[in-house]
């Protein structure tokens, strides 16, 4: 996969910011390209059609827990690992659709069901990073094109 195509930063920033406000009642701070140090949950959605590639999402474990609590109206610390994984997958599904449609609204892309990233496929260095819970980046997006 390559990075010859690039989705503009403002497109990713706007799509992700809107999703966090609506689904998790949280604000995001865009950090650009950065490294995520915390333990992560990773997931990916493949897309095909006019452009082909993969939309990868990495979320720190602590942020995934908070997302699950907000989304499912759970008490702090109540989210199970399965719920956290499911939340990150659903977030990747929504984030991929929102971002790619905002970038290429005329393209009729087909999307896969989200799946977990293998440890090798994990992205610690992400071109589009966000801070949600604090100052350090705790969520990253990588969009790779074939």
């Amino acid at each position: 996969m390559s990075h010859l195509l690039n989705v503009p930063e403002n497109v990713v920033q706007s799509a992700i910011g809107q999703i966090f406000q609506t689904m998790y009642f949280s604000e995001t701070a865009y950090r650009g390209s950065a490294r995520i140090e915390a333990a992560m949950l990773g997931t990916a959605v493949s897309f095909s059609g006019e452009v082909v590639g993969e939309f990868r999402v990495a979320v720190s474990a602590s942020l995934a827990g908070r997302m699950a609590e907000d989304f499912l109206a759970l008490e702090p610390g109540e989210a199970s690992p399965e719920q956290m994984e499911a939340i990150v997958m659903e977030f990747a599904n929504v984030a991929c659709g929102a971002t790619m449609s905002a970038w290429r609204p005329e393209a009729n892309l087909h999307y896969s069901v989200p799946g977990p990233l293998s440890r090798e496929g994990h992205v610690s260095e992400c071109p589009y990073c966000f801070s949600v819970s604090g100052d350090s980046p705790d969520m990253g997006i990588d969009i790779r094109f074939e």
Partner: protein, 125 residues
Amino acid sequence: MKRVLVVDDSPVMRHYVARALKMTGMNLAIHEAENGRVAMEKAFQILPDVIITDLNMPEMSGQELVARVHAAAELSATRVLVLSADRSDGRVGEMTRAGADDYLTKPVTPEALKNSLMRILEVRP
């Protein structure tokens, strides 16, 4: 009471939609299914007033579900609301032509859900 069938392969999204539906304050009986195939089985049993469906699901997609509901005489009164992360112009038009009564994009707010339901069920505020 209106019967609503929520179809999504993600259990957390079904949970979220069900919670959003309760927040609308409308008098709804909420049922759930994890894909189009299960949704069709449940639809013939409960004859829902509205099916709210995702598009991208294993076993039977939302697109096929819309077509099957549209073709089933027993479900002629059932309205279909598509709720998908895919907001491309082509997909919205494609689903409308296939028989969907409305198309909302994720992330969806309870207000948007309520407005859509009131419109397609022709409920007056």
